[in-house]
């Protein structure tokens, strides 16, 4: 190699060297997503066992084990449980990635700082990380779907859209996790989020029992939680009992996504650019 190969500048002196590809929002976000993919390829085996094993074991053990003792007027407990396990698997996968994973990239590894020295900005970093969290959610949700289908728990062709629903649920919880990461001082902070927010949703969003069995005020609280709407959409797609109300659930999830994304961009920006 001649030194010229390394040191030659674009002619014109002042002009920044023209990049081959214009680095816009979509391109930049996908570059960030791709960076995470490249790093995940090294650990994918252990990561897959964790992401897929837990929801599938829950579905089988609780659905068929505990399910024997549950009477739900005509529906088997495993059938009732499958949509909730699918939605919460997507929630958990995205939430872990966007907290522990993104926080590590933002602080310890300074990955965000390194990226910010390039044409890629805060909006693309947040979008790329949320999309990465959503990709893991899609993987987990789809695995649960395949197990549920194999066990004969899926009743409707609408189930074919569930990977896309898992992606949306992943974007919502990915963006929410990034908001939490942007405000976290240390890893301990995530314990509060998982105990007080994620676990509460997991237990009271209609995953394990019908919301109708809760008192009225508790049902109102439950409908304020994004997971409740996610479970409702997934259930409608699996049973085929899908109606216009699904659009309301979809609208709630999209609204939470937009708000969480805007907050994450603002606060991650405040943390890194000052």
């Amino acid at each position: 190699m001649g030194k010229d190969a390394v040191t030659t500048l674009g002619q014109g002196g002042m002009a920044p060297s023209p990049a081959r590809q214009r680095v816009g929002f979509l391109y930049g976000s996908l570059r960030v997503w791709r960076r995470n993919m490249e790093s995940w390829r090294k650990f994918y085996k252990s990561s897959l066992v964790g992401a897929l094993g837990e929801p599938i074991l829950s579905l089988l053990a609780i659905g068929y084990g505990l399910g024997k003792f549950v009477d739900l007027a005509g529906v088997s407990y495993a059938e009732f449980l499958a949509p909730g396990i699918l939605a919460s698997a997507a929630m958990n996968a995205a939430s872990f990635e966007a907290t522990y994973g993104s926080f590590t990239r933002m602080t310890e590894q300074k990955t965000y700082d390194a990226i910010l020295a390039t044409p890629i900005g805060i909006r693309e970093i947040v979008a790329g990380d949320a999309l990465w969290a959503a990709s893991k959610a899609t993987l987990s949700g789809t695995a649960v779907l395949l197990v549920a289908a194999a066990a004969g728990l899926v009743r409707s062709p609408w189930a074919a859209v569930l990977p896309a629903v898992a992606l949306l649920v992943g974007l919502v919880f990915g963006a929410m996790g990034l908001v939490v990461s942007s405000r976290a001082r240390a890893y301990d902070f995530f314990t509060y989020y998982f105990t007080l927010v994620i676990t509460v949703m997991y237990l009271f969003a209609g995953v394990f029992f019908p919301l109708a069995s809760l008192p009225g005020w508790a049902q109102a609280v439950a409908w304020a939680m994004p997971l409740t709407h996610a479970v409702a959409i997934v259930r409608a797609c699996i049973t085929g009992e899908i109606g216009p109300v699904a659009l309301v659930h979809l609208g709630v999830l999209l609204a939470v996504l937009v708000l969480a994304y805007a907050a994450a961009v603002r606060w991650v920006g405040r943390r890194l650019v000052a």
Binding site: M14, P16, L116, A117, V273, A274
Partner: protein, 309 residues
């Protein structure tokens, strides 16, 4: 200066009540290596952060690559900058080669052109045989060279180096200097901060010394030495005897030049006012070192000898 690459006029940065950069003026020209020196807390890193779009200025004007540093221009400015930051932020999840490939993709580069560029940069950084290594297996010097290679991936019009050799052993440091001199010969403009005066003297065409957010001196290394400390310095050692030190100090002061006590030693600056021959003859019985003045003497003269922590 015609078409400076960086031009700061009255540049300020305030965090709440405290102002860390208090109105600095400087310009970096094409093909120039410009040094930003100063003790800890002088405002060097904040100035670098403003130039690299990590910190919006609170006042004054700042143009980089001909463009005002504003949110609308960040993307264009960053596309033409190469930043080698003070803190190591290589991607620990990726190999040496992947670090460069992925970083190139952030600039919109790809395909055969990027692969060729990465191969050239690995050669330049003498890391070709470590292309597949994990980052945590590299030595400090290798990491520094990889950071430098990464900063060059987009053929930047300005290379920003924030303390490029801090923490390196002499061998590793000289290798980095060698690489930087090669870049200089190739015409890459550089903005460098450093604590090492020898580094600044070796690399910088021109430099400023900052302290408490202000520029307190500016010029070429040789001119700064000539202007602030003269050509030569004599350090006389008192051997731990305070009375002897006072006697030496009085003797040195009698030569008419500037004299300074530093711990056990007395420093005499041989500027134009001093007859060097008779001064050295008078000190013949003492234990002393007679040496050329360095940029470090300038730095300590201007910023004092108190610790900055």
């Amino acid at each position: 200066m015609l078409h400076p690459i960086v031009e700061a006029v009255g540049l300020r940065k305030r965090y709440g009540e405290s102002e860390v950069v208090c109105g600095v003026d400087f310009a970096v020209g094409a093909r120039e290596c410009f040094g930003l020196l100063g003790p800890n807390g002088a405002g060097k890193t904040t100035t670098i952060r403003m130039i690299t779009c990590f910190s919006p200025p609170s006042g004054g004007t700042l143009r980089v690559l001909g463009l005002p540093v504003s949110a609308a221009n960040h993307r264009t400015i960053k596309a033409g900058l190469g930043l080698a930051p003070q803190e190591e932020n290589l991607d620990p999840d990726l190999s040496v080669e992947k670090n460069l490939l992925v970083y190139g993709s952030y600039f919109g580069l790809g395909g055969g052109e990027l692969r060729q560029r990465v191969a050239d940069l690995l050669t330049f950084a003498q890391l070709t045989d470590r292309a597949g290594s994990r980052i945590d297996t590299l030595s400090g010097g290798m990491k520094r060279r990889l950071i430098l290679a990464r900063a060059l991936i987009n053929r930047p019009a300005l290379l920003v180096l924030d303390e490029p050799t801090t923490g390196l052993d002499p061998q590793a440091r000289h290798l980095v200097w060698d690489r930087l001199r090669e870049l200089k010969r190739g015409g890459v403009a550089m903005l460098l901060t450093t604590h090492y005066m020898e580094e600044a003297a070796q690399l910088c065409d021109r430099l400023v010394i900052m302290d408490h957010g202000r520029i307190i001196a500016e010029g070429t290394p040789a001119a700064l030495i000539e202007r602030h400390v003269g050509r030569e310095v004599v350090e006389v050692f008192a051997g731990g005897d305070a009375d002897r030190r006072e006697r030496i100090r009085a003797l040195c002061a009698s030569f008419g030049g500037r004299v300074e006590s530093v711990g056990d030693a007395v420093v005499l600056y041989l500027d134009g006012a001093v007859d060097a021959g008779s001064a050295l003859a008078a000190l013949a019985g003492e234990e002393f070192v007679h040496r050329r003045a360095t940029l470090e003497d300038v730095f300590l003269t201007l910023t004092g000898r108190e610790l900055r922590e």
